[in-house]
């Protein structure tokens, strides 16, 4: 593909620039989810650990949730922001703007993959083993990349047009985080809330991810269908919205 080299450079830039002036650099990508997990584990383990179905472990449950949620929320924000922040380039040199949104989502994917290392450690420390279904964890990452890129494309247009969409998206992401079973088991919720959480697409991605990695969840057929359909829908909608609204948006960039 014509833009592979550019995408590679953009992903690289996204991954390294964030930590350019830090001492351990990209090591933060490893340390970040570990520290967050540690804090949440310390706070919640004695409340929620016993509520998980037997055979499931709280530590990998928590960390898988944090990794996936970081990928989603950080990826979506940078992807949606990427086109506005590269306006200086896009108004001078012809590059399909979608390249920037896709690269940001891919950078989130790479961060997610790096997180597999500490997650594997936690899996073994808590007495589990990595399942044979492990490769499917990559598949979840790919579907989530498409989901993030699609949503990012749609939102990027809004980001350029209205300054306050950033705040709105930040609030929505926070709500979505609490409506995803990251640090609590679904069983502690009442029936209405269980339904809401069930229809949150991220729940499906997360269930499959936990199951694929170390058999730490029980996804259903619905989870699979919902994951695939939501990612395809988000992608198609993103491509469509972007194509439709970009010509009017580039004029104000």
């Amino acid at each position: 593909m014509k833009y592979t080299q550019l995408i590679r450079l953009l992903v690289n830039r996204e991954l390294t620039l964030r930590y350019k002036r830090s001492v351990i650099g990209i090591g933060w990508t490893l340390l970040n989810p570990m520290l967050t997990s540690l804090v949440l584990w310390y706070v919640f383990s004695f409340v929620f650990a016993a509520k998980l179905p037997s055979g499931q472990q709280f530590a990998p449950y928590l960390m898988a949730g944090i990794l996936l949620n970081t990928f989603f929320s950080q990826g979506l924000m940078t992807s949606a922001e990427s086109i506005a922040s590269n306006g200086g380039v896009l108004t001078k040199i012809y590059v399909p703007p979608q390249v920037f949104a896709i690269s940001a989502a891919l950078a989130g994917f790479v961060n997610f993959l790096i997180g597999f290392i500490p997650l594997a450690v936690v899996v073994y420390v808590s007495g589990q083993t990595i399942s044979l279904t492990f490769p499917l964890a990559f598949l979840v990452g790919i579907f989530l990349t498409l989901f993030v890129a699609g949503l990012g494309l749609s939102i990027s247009i809004l980001f350029i047009r209205f300054d306050d969409t950033r705040n709105i998206v930040a609030v929505i992401l926070l709500i979505m985080m609490y409506l995803t079973p990251i640090f609590y088991p679904v069983s502690i919720l009442n029936e209405t809330m269980q339904n809401v959480v069930h229809w949150n697409p991220l729940t499906s991605y997360l269930e499959i991810f936990r199951w694929a990695f170390s058999n730490n969840a029980t996804p259903t057929m619905f989870s699979w269908v919902y994951m695939i359909v939501s990612s395809m829908l988000a992608l198609l909608l993103g491509i469509y919205n972007f194509k439709k609204y970009w010509p009017r948006t580039v004029a104000i960039l």
Partner: protein, 241 residues
């Protein structure tokens, strides 16, 4: 052979008056009936062709539509009327150094900028040393760009942008980069590209530069062509105006 063909080109911006940049303002204005959309005509009925090896200058005051025209030719901005056909590789020299990042090194920036312009990464890597040398910043290529002086950044950007020749050059006031020695050197490089058959569109405020480099010129005013003809003639009329 015409490399650039522009026919009845028109660009209209849709401008939201009182500029509601927040959703709250937009709702408020919509309720009060204040969200008026006004069409701003940036370009109207512009037609011209540029042949191989020919230099067309675009003269005009700020806001006359020069930048809009270059953006359309660069493929960055869609035309709302008419057509613009550009056949060949474009080197857009519009505000050089788009995409430069202060935290990346000189060499990294050269690579990124070149790939943005569609060049092959592998080939660029073998050219980096030479690009740095031509810009006179060889010793600094491995340092972050934030340690460069603004003149050094501008020279590096020019050196990178012109490292490969292209069929079509879109030049926007970039020949005034650096000291007079560097300006001579840059002019020479551009002239060489023209001699090799590039089609050039040169945007300039300076009638002197236009007379020296261009064959023909177009004088834009309020988005319309006010005068078109031999460079010297148009430049003199523009100067007298």
């Amino acid at each position: 052979m015409a490399l650039i063909e522009v026919n009845n080109l028109g660009v209209t911006y849709r401008v939201l008056m009182n500029k509601s940049t927040s959703l709250k303002e937009l709702f408020r204005d919509a309720i009060k009936g204040k969200a008026r959309v006004v069409d701003y005509v940036a370009l109207q009925d512009v037609s011209f062709t540029v042949n191989k090896g020919e230099v067309l200058a675009i003269l005009g005051r700020n806001g006359a539509g020069k930048s809009t025209l270059l953006k359309v030719l660069a493929g960055v901005l869609p035309a709302t009327k008419g057509t613009s056909k550009v056949s060949g590789g474009i080197a857009p020299m519009i505000e050089l150094g788009a995409g430069f990042h202060p935290e990346m090194t000189g060499a990294e920036n050269v690579l990124f900028y070149s790939v943005l312009m569609g060049r092959d990464a592998k080939r660029v890597k073998s050219r980096i040393a030479e690009i740095g040398e031509w810009a006179g910043v060889s010793d600094h290529m491995d340092f972050p760009l934030r340690t460069f002086s603004s003149g050094m950044v501008a020279r590096l950007a020019f050196s990178t942008a012109t490292d490969e020749t292209a069929d079509i050059l879109l030049i926007d006031e970039v020949l005034s980069v650096g000291d007079s020695e560097f300006q001579e050197k840059s002019k020479e490089r551009i002239m060489k590209m023209i001699a090799n058959g590039a089609a050039v569109i040169l945007v300039s405020h300076s009638p002197g530069t236009v007379k020296e480099l261009a064959d023909r010129a177009i004088w834009l005013e309020d988005g319309k062509v006010k005068m078109e003809g031999p460079a010297a003639l148009v430049a003199d009329a523009y100067e007298a105006h």
